[in-house]
């Protein structure tokens, strides 16, 4: 198990190198002169030269790469042009906001997606099944920004139950955090809830038809025991596999949702950086998000191996 974990970590290193190379390439791939684009049409030649120096664009490609990786290995992601602060510092300040939102979304996805899927499978072809699958279809089809806006209109504007957005630090005011984060988390999660409910239902139906379920019944196991001990342990395997993917989507989907709900997270930060052509911010943010996603995926893979003995032994 430990060897497996270490191997997965080792496999992540080349991926991280590739991502960093791509994010380095962003600046090189901008058509024309990135400094000119960044400085705008009214910049003086002097300003342009200075900006090129700050960005390191006056050096050769090779030395730019060397400097980039040299800084990267020291944990230096450069300075944000718009905010005038170190990228790493800004990213570290903002990321807990996004990560907590994504984890809340994930919790909603797992709890709602799994239970809807399991109930639908157990009531296969009955009205409850059909209702659940209609709900899942709606969840999958409705765009999250639209859902977010509808929820704001309904729950904030008309009913006044929840704030329209913003962010309250969890440790200062857990209830406030909960109220503010529920709508963003739900609109972020809705599509994943639909997908997970469908996956859970079809997997559960398949598992319930397996011979080992019949064996469990032949032992005199009660229905809850059959479902929880014998079926769920098998259903969870494919579910955990997609969990990493779901989390990636939840984290990267937050650009739009954070903007709608005025949540000052990484998504909103990167969105603004892209609009403002803040290249160091974009580069640093990209590497950081990629690193977080890689770590989460390793956690998911290890969890998967822990659940499925057939993977563990290999």
């Amino acid at each position: 198990m430990l060897a497996y974990t270490l191997r997965r970590i080792a496999q992540a290193v080349p991926i991280l190198l590739l991502v960093s190379l791509i994010s380095f390439g962003i600046m090189q791939l901008v058509p024309g002169d990135p400094a000119a684009v960044l400085a705008g049409p009214n910049a003086t030649p002097d300003e342009l030269i200075k900006l090129r120096q700050t960005l390191g664009l006056d050096k050769s490609l090779l030395s730019q790469i060397m400097i980039f990786y040299g800084n990267l290995f020291q944990g230096d992601l450069g300075y944000s042009i718009i905010l005038g602060e170190p990228v790493l510092k800004v990213v570290l300040e903002r990321s807990p906001i996004s990560i907590s939102l994504a984890l809340y979304s994930l919790a909603l996805t797992v709890i709602l997606g799994l239970s809807i899927g399991v109930i639908a499978a157990m009531k296969h072809n009955r009205w409850i099944d059909q209702a659940a699958m209609t709900f899942a279809l709606i969840g999958v089809s409705v765009p999250n920004f639209w859902l977010g806006l509808v929820m704001i209109v309904l729950f904030s504007v008309h009913l006044g139950w929840l704030p329209t957005g913003g962010y309250v630090p969890f440790f200062e005011d857990p209830v406030g955090w909960f109220l503010a984060a529920t709508m963003p988390a739900l609109s972020l999660a809705m599509m994943q809830i639909g997908l997970l409910a469908r996956l859970t239902r079809s997997t559960m139906l398949e598992v319930l038809g397996q011979d080992y379920i019949r064996t469990a019944r032949a032992k005199g196991a009660s229905e809850p025991r059959v479902i929880i001990k014998h079926a769920m342990s098998n259903v969870l395997i494919p579910v955990v596999t997609v969990l990493g993917m779901i989390l990636s989507v939840l984290l990267s989907g937050s650009v739009i949702v954070e903007t709608i709900f005025a949540v000052p997270g990484i998504g909103a930060l990167l969105g603004n950086a892209i609009l403002g052509r803040d290249y160091p911010m974009i580069q640093g943010g990209l590497i950081f998000v990629a690193a977080v996603l890689l770590i989460l995926n390793i956690v998911v893979d290890v969890l998967y191996a822990w659940l499925d003995p057939r993977v563990r032994v290999q």
């Binding site: 032949a218 032992k219 196991a221 098998n234 057939r310």
Partner: protein, 337 residues
């Protein structure tokens, strides 16, 4: 020796609903299993052997199947009219079952030990420790080497033969009075088949439980069973004591099955197969269902369902020409030619 029936199935009927309507997979099947007796249930693939066993256990899918019976008496209780709760108490307790598919019948994500002691923990008030020890004992009994380590293994670490031994151990874990063994060896190598059959016979000799042994092979029946029930297309073609049936088969289908078995004919050149195939459940022939494949068929055979005719002590056949068959079988071999 007068024995009491531990299982008495009367008028068992099972239907399945599928997309093309309702089919009758088991049609009016009745048989007895006495205490301590091994009853062989034989028939071609698709003749309804597994469905019969699963129906007795109440293990057929509730949504697509419908089981009715006048009575299914087991140990003084009527399973046909018992509640799910009562059935659950018997399953894995007084009635054990071994399935046809050893590779898929164990849960891939649970340890052998957990699966083995589960019925013990369900049916008896017993500590985990004591149940574990009994699990080790059971694995030893079914011939699994290093049983303590095996308790912590997962199914994929075991061969098919070993898995079926585990299934046998599971079925035996609560000392059942009746074991339903559904082709316990069909999916395995020939050598392992023989080993497992010997193991079952050994355990049966020791525990004196009754066994319904489902099989394709008349050879297995000859070796193990006291009584035979021959099924064809969801109905019983013939049943009776093994010696009776082998000496005086009262149904052309039984005769055909015996001629398919090299060990029984003793002459591989005379080995024949029964021409044709089992009819489809959705297009059953009228009258005797074996008639389209039968050498001896005559117009009367398709007129109506042939009744079970008694042709000996506890020996009955669903062939209207059973009497002729028995007489001809009683004559010496050369007399026919």
């Amino acid at each position: 020796m007068q024995r009491n029936p531990i299982l008495r199935v009367e008028g068992l009927r099972t239907t399945f609903t599928s997309d093309d309507g309702e089919v009758v997979a088991v049609d009016d099947v009745s048989f007895d299993v006495n205490e301590g007796e091994i009853v062989g249930l034989i028939g071609e693939s698709g003749s309804g052997k597994s469905v019969t066993a699963l129906a007795v256990m109440g293990l057929l899918p509730k949504t697509t199947s419908h089981v009715t019976a006048e009575r299914i008496m087991f140990d003084g209780r009527d399973l046909a009219h018992a509640s799910e709760r009562e059935l659950r108490r018997l399953r894995g307790g007084s009635i054990g079952m071994i399935f046809q598919e050893p590779m898929s019948s164990l849960n891939p994500v649970l340890k052998i030990g957990d699966q083995l002691i589960e019925p013990i923990r369900i049916h008896e008030r017993i500590s985990y420790r004591a149940a574990f020890d009994r699990g080790v004992e059971l694995l030893t009994k079914v011939g699994i080497p290093s049983p303590v380590q095996r308790m912590n293994d997962y199914p994929h670490q075991l061969s098919g033969g070993m898995r079926q031994r585990v299934m046998i151990a599971i079925a035996l874990s609560c000392s059942p009075k009746l074991l339903l063994a559904d082709e316990p060896t069909t999916a395995l190598d020939v050598t392992i088949q023989a080993q497992l059959l010997d193991l079952l016979l050994e355990i049966q000799a020791e525990t004196k439980m009754a066994i319904v042994l489902i099989t394709h092979s008349m050879g297995v029946i000859a070796e193990c069973a006291d009584k035979v029930v021959v099924m064809y297309s969801g109905r019983i073609a013939e049943q009776g004591p093994v010696t009776e049936i082998f000496d005086r088969p009262g149904h052309p289908y039984t005769k055909g099955l015996m001629q398919c078995t090299p060990e029984l004919t003793g002459n591989s050149r005379r080995l024949t197969t029964i021409p044709g195939t089992l009819p489809s459940l959705s297009a059953l022939p009228p009258g005797c269902r074996f008639a389209p494949r039968c050498d001896l068929a005559q117009p009367d055979c398709v007129a109506g369902r042939p009744p079970m005719i008694a042709i000996g002590k506890e020996h009955a056949s669903a062939c209207i020409r059973a009497d002729e068959l028995v007489v001809s079988a009683a004559q010496p071999e050369g007399a026919e030619v």
